[in-house]
């Protein structure tokens, strides 16, 4: 009975080990952070014609994807049902999908010409490489970015429109905008004449000169830092109800953010010498940010400089 139990345990253990080994041999699954199952890059190693390229074993979550490989190259030969891309002989199959960006119609095998750069997804069957998808790579970049100042803009989501910009260099450029296919960033930004923008456009491969704007990024200028104005003189009037202070002939308003600094005095009164730093509002009125009363600014700055100098000497051990 005891021997029977030992044999049973050995049998179960060997079964479990046998099931686990192939999974371990395959390696860890590669799952992206967004849950996408991705294969590591699997470029074919170029070999002699007719020689099956050695491929690196992929790490897969879905092993059925392993049968596909991707080849990018130039079409060297085109025959009845096969093509040669670089050194690879590739065969067309009934389900081969062909995509040529310059053709508005559905592309077919006959549209593949010698000299075209193509990306091909292939699978192996009976020792041959069959094409599942073949896409022709456009000769020129399709997307362009154009920075310039808007001189004309009209767009309606239902009918489309156009945008014309004046680039920093070169002639004005006009882009078509297709109905419902236009995005503006930042969200809520307004495109208007004078705006500095980047127009993202697609060149329509079928009509070389047709530029289609897919979106615009409005570059909103950062507001320039406001340099405070300085008002110096004798305080001639103070109105605590209207919250204004008059220095010489200049009336300044103050608020809860205004900082008053006094030397040797407890309150701000008329007749005191003051220096005020203020900003001008859109309506032209001046708002005081800082008001120094009885403080000789050059003298204070000199004192401060001397104190800082002494502090530096202390820090660096230069005190005598």
């Amino acid at each position: 009975m005891k021997l029977f139990r030992i044999l049973a345990v050995i049998l179960v253990a060997s079964l479990l080990l046998g099931a686990a080994l192939p999974a371990l041999a395959q390696g860890p699954a590669n799952t992206d952070s967004d849950g996408t199952n991705q294969l590591q890059p699997q470029p074919f190693q170029k070999g002699k014609p007719g020689v099956r390229p050695e491929a690196v074993k992929p790490q897969l979550l879905k092993p059925e994807l392993a049968k596909f490989k991707v080849i990018k190259g130039v079409v060297k030969e085109v025959a009845a049902a096969k093509i040669k891309v670089d050194d690879y002989e590739l065969f067309f199959a009934p389900d081969t999908a062909v995509k040529v960006p310059t053709l508005s119609k559905s592309a077919v095998f006959a549209d593949i010409k010698v000299g075209m750069t193509v990306i091909v997804m292939v699978y192996e069957k009976d020792g041959k490489l069959y094409i599942r998808h073949i896409n022709v790579v456009p000769g020129k970049p399709i997307i362009t970015h154009n920075v310039g100042t808007v001189i004309e803009f009209a767009y309606d989501a239902a009918t489309g429109g156009k945008i014309t910009i004046e680039p920093k260099k070169g002639d004005n450029v006009t882009f078509e905008i297709l109905a419902g296919k236009f995005k503006i960033l930042p969200e809520g930004a307004e495109v208007k004449v004078g705006s500095l923008v980047t127009v993202i456009s697609n060149r329509d491969p079928a009509t070389v000169n047709r530029l289609i704007a897919t979106g615009v990024v409005v570059h909103i200028p950062k507001p320039l830092p406001v340099r405070p104005e300085k008002v110096t003189g004798t305080i001639t009037a103070i109105d605590q109800t209207a919250k204004t202070i008059k220095i010489g002939e200049t009336v300044l308003s103050y608020n809860e953010k205004t900082l008053f600094a006094l030397r040797g005095q407890l309150a701000v009164t008329t007749g005191q010498e003051a220096v005020a730093f203020c900003v001008k509002k859109e309506d032209g009125t001046l708002v005081a940010l800082r008001v120094l009363v009885g403080i000789d600014l050059p003298e204070v700055m000199a004192e401060l400089g001397a104190q800082l100098g002494n502090a530096e000497k202390v820090r660096t051990g230069q005190t005598s």
């Binding site: 967004d34 996408t36 199952n37 991705q38 970049p141 970015h145 979106g215 990024v217």
Partner: protein
């Protein structure tokens, strides 16, 4: 070991950390991530975004079945440009 990110550009740098070139995926939407100049405009296929103040960008692009060319293009307001081309294949 993850594949090395692709980098391009001189005046304006562009690095794409995701997706890897020549990758095969089984979803029709993939996130393009990387770094470029702060505030630069980055586009790929029909999508675009602006990089943040650190130069990071991320946005999703849709894939057609089969091999897809992902042309990542970055530009700044001074007109500097950089671009990279990746191939991402989508299998249903």
């Amino acid at each position: 070991m993850p594949p090395a990110p692709l980098t391009a550009g001189t005046q304006l740098k562009l690095t794409v950390t995701q997706p890897a070139d020549n990758i095969i995926v089984d979803t029709d939407r993939i996130e393009v991530k990387g770094t470029t100049g702060p505030g630069a405009v980055v586009s790929a296929n029909n999508e675009f975004a602006t990089a943040d103040s650190q130069g990071n960008f991320a946005f999703a692009v849709m894939l057609d079945e089969g091999p897809n060319i992902i042309e990542v293009f970055s530009s700044d307001v001074s007109g500097n440009e950089a671009n990279l081309t990746l191939t991402v294949s989508y299998v249903k």
